[in-house]
Symmetry: D3
């Protein structure tokens, strides 16, 4: 393995105004004083950086139908299913910062593991969808 990012990290000091505006909003929203490396690589495409951050802020924040910790745990479940190393470390850290206990993490993973198992049993044996499961309407 290499360990080097595919594009250099765009540090705050060398960033354009467009990128700095996003970095500033990330830090203000999170009440933190640093930017994690995911954004520093995405910054090579400033409009994509801005769109991705704004969508994420809107989706992951307060005021929706799900609380922020539940959403971080769903993020972990997906990242683990896809095997994304960076995302597993970063979203586990975020979920812990939002109060996730180790007991909750382990139970989340038990569910994630079991879903990955039964997904394949259904893929393999091809049971017809029961009429009771059909959506109404």
């Amino acid at each position: 393995m290499s360990g080097k990012p595919i594009v250099p990290l765009v540090e705050y000091e060398m960033a354009s105004d467009e990128v700095r505006a996003v970095y500033d909003d990330i830090m203000a929203t999170r009440k933190s004083d640093w930017i994690n490396n995911f954004w520093k690589v995405l910054a090579h495409d400033p409009p994509h950086l801005r769109r991705t951050w704004e969508s994420l802020k809107e989706i992951m924040g307060l005021g929706g139908a799900l609380d922020p910790l539940t959403k971080e745990m769903i993020y972990i479940a997906v990242s683990v299913t896809n095997g994304c190393e960076y995302c597993t470390y970063s979203h586990t850290a975020s979920a812990r910062a939002k109060g996730m206990t180790d007991a909750q993490l382990m139970e989340l993973l038990a569910v994630t593991g079991k879903a990955n198992e039964t997904n394949r049993l259904a893929n393999a044996l091809r049971p017809p969808v029961d009429v009771q499961f059909e959506p109404r309407g």
Copy 2:
């Protein structure tokens, strides 16, 4: 597409005592009077049927660190990420039976979609894991 299951459905009437014992426990646990097709195909391997049901009952039930609805939503996130059709229909139906609203479903999917997107951006650009995200201990 075919639509036929890979092995015939094992209906209650023709099931062995070992299989019926599992079917009875499924219905008693769920307070329902029918068995969904997933179990009817799995019943061709009775010990596997029993193990899968018992694990699932233990993992998905009450009394853990996460509530049952949160766990059903995690199940949906994984099933959708893997593209399992049967599992998407069955776990969406289960989550709705446990009170999931359409607003919660749509928000869960916004998170699931975004995680699948950013997982690939991280896979592609390979940002190093920030030291702030490293697990303690």
Copy 3:
């Protein structure tokens, strides 16, 4: 299989003004007079509908570093790798509407298949990343 959508299709006639504004922009951008079913299910979450459409319009359109047909072909490669049925039909149709020939489709699929094969050979045999492949900078 069921064939029914998980949530009802939101047809133009019953859509809210917020949804209609997105539908109108989709039709104007595409110079077409109909809305495909993907948007009609996403419309149950109007802000998500709007964000998804606006990102897609910005990413897939003219004026970027890649031409629109190349981008549709990349979309097909990903959809096929993930096994998404709806996306395979819809993006193949879009790419054909933008001029993709059957020869181009078949060659795109030869590449996609080969990448899926060699990805697993590399996952399995774990060759170290050659220093010649390390990103500069």
Copy 4:
């Protein structure tokens, strides 16, 4: 993580004539003087090495319906979707050697990310395939 390959690298010096013939063709085709590690692990199965190289040469080369750079970019999109680290480094390097700019890379990844997102929204909401998208013939 280990970092060691699962089987030792077969260096040119210790390679059989059958393997050397493939190595020689790789270097001649690429006008280079080295062999990357992917081939050195695959060389433990000489017929598989030969078949894989010959298919890849035929598929990825000049003279097809798609130009070689477009094909490298499709390879990146698939490798990133699958999370293959070696393939991401090697095909990004190859695409850059064929002229891919950072702007093209970032746009390719925006498309890849968005496809991974919308694939899951379609998997989840199960919109029926529109009749307008049905293949003719």
Copy 5:
């Protein structure tokens, strides 16, 4: 869902000589008198058809280090993990034709399911690779 193939089936009667030569070899190798639909869609790219068939014949046949039934079962495990419907039906049928019993199928699926589960537990918890598991050499 649509159910229509993306490109029309190339039937023997309308096939070019190049395609017929492959079809004839498929039927001769399998001692059968029909061609399954996978080859009939791939036939739109005759060199790709030929290469894919010849690789598959070489890999899946007699005389290797693994017997043909074991190889069909590995094919099922992969197809089920990827959720490929056509491949699941076709390779299950092929494995049965080579003698796979339902008990073998169910055990293969128990292993496949369990591997999919523990893969995600390892992806999530990131245990270091034990030195005892490091490849020699």
Copy 6:
């Protein structure tokens, strides 16, 4: 990348009696004197540790319809398809301990690679399932 596990390793010395009972059974079953790191991270959820080990012991052991080496090879095929690094190292080591030769490994990977390729060709071209492949009954 980080390389640190998400939760600390639970070593035998600090383990609870419940965890030690599982560790003892793992070592007795395998006739070994050490525990690999996968179990040491799973030990943070002792009932999950026990369930996972007991299922795995039952599924992977002697006395089933498939021999233990075949099952380890299926495990490798799945782990490689999913890109699980830890699982690839650990199950390759297990399979070698059970007698897998390098020739068998390379042939298993040729099949796994080819299945991943043809799965995508079928996902893309959507051939209808042939009636000859439909399950009986």
